[in-house]
Subunit: 155 residues, 2 copies
DNA sequence: AATTAATAGTTGTTTTTGTAACTAACAAGG
DNA sequence: CCTTGTTAGTTACAAAAACAACTATTAATT
């Protein structure tokens, strides 16, 4: 029993990250699921379109690291519910430009507000500079580049 | 476009946590999957039994916050592969005591070593005190109580 | 004791996911 | 052009997860 008790399951970063992610997502997940019948990937796609405006499935995939299959299905659902409209690119007729409909925008705004307040709630459990460090570390672990301080570049 | 661009998807803690968790788990996940054909829940059950010794499905569920259904199926697989043995509690014949077999112990030791080195690899990307803070914050987010400094209490 | 409730664990059924194969459109080399 | 290769996106099938209903056993209530 006294082999190597200094490293337990609960120190293991992937385990901790998964557990924390599950717990932290629970309430918000319930919100977009109950309110809009959305799955995680649908919410993510919606959010990307809300933040970045019109873009293709490919671009969303690159930004969010979501596989094209998932995006395809998420977009299909969102389009079915009239949250997203699609239009073929006339230069390259393989590509499809995706864009939120007014209903999609409304859902985005609602979910975004919810996300912000939920995020604030989580953050409030720690010191501000601790939270800043946490975000920075998580970004690094997720290979997300640091946001350039002010201007968010358009694409 | 200039509504509220100060809060992006990539600042949202649940999103960041999920992304970081996915990325951080990837390599390790591949390891136990390829090497032992294990799923995430199977690995978690194995690890709990390895760390805490004999326990019931119920107890694992409480510690790991895994639903009994998942544990039941994970245990079934592990038992099938002779990593876990089961024995009825004679006082309460509903309960089943689970325990690693020698093969299970061997797998546990291998995976644990792998976990430790993988954890170290992740941790090496940051300052030690940053990592300590990260673990503390993740534990708090996951509602895992801090380990009491020295003696890990037996059950 | 007999009835009802609660608990440990399992099983069945429906959703979701993951992987890979597919279609359609474009691009490049000969 | 015409074969070969790439890319955007979809679809089909198999694996896995979620949720609810179920069995067996124990506990509680009358």
């Amino acid at each position: 029993m006294t082999e190597k008790d200094d490293f337990s399951l609960q120190d293991f970063l992937p385990f901790l990250l998964n557990r924390a992610a599950e717990d932290a997502s629970l309430a918000f997940q319930a919100h977009y699921k109950n309110r809009y019948g959305m799955l995680r990937n649908e919410w993510r796609v919606l959010f990307h379109l809300g933040v970045f405006g019109q873009m293709t499935a490919k671009e969303i995939g690159l930004r969010a690291k979501i596989h094209k299959t998932k995006i395809s299905r998420a977009v299909a659902k969102l389009a079915e519910r009239r949250f997203v409209s699609r239009s073929r690119d006339e230069k390259d007729r393989r590509a499809e430009h995706l864009q939120l409909t007014p209903a999609g925008e409304a859902a985005y705004r609602d979910l975004r507000a919810e996300a912000e307040s939920y995020d604030a709630q989580l953050a409030a459990r720690f010191d501000p500079q601790e939270v800043a460090l946490l975000r920075r570390m998580l970004r690094k672990l997720a290979s997300i580049e640091e946001p350039v301080s002010s201007a968010p570049e358009r694409d």
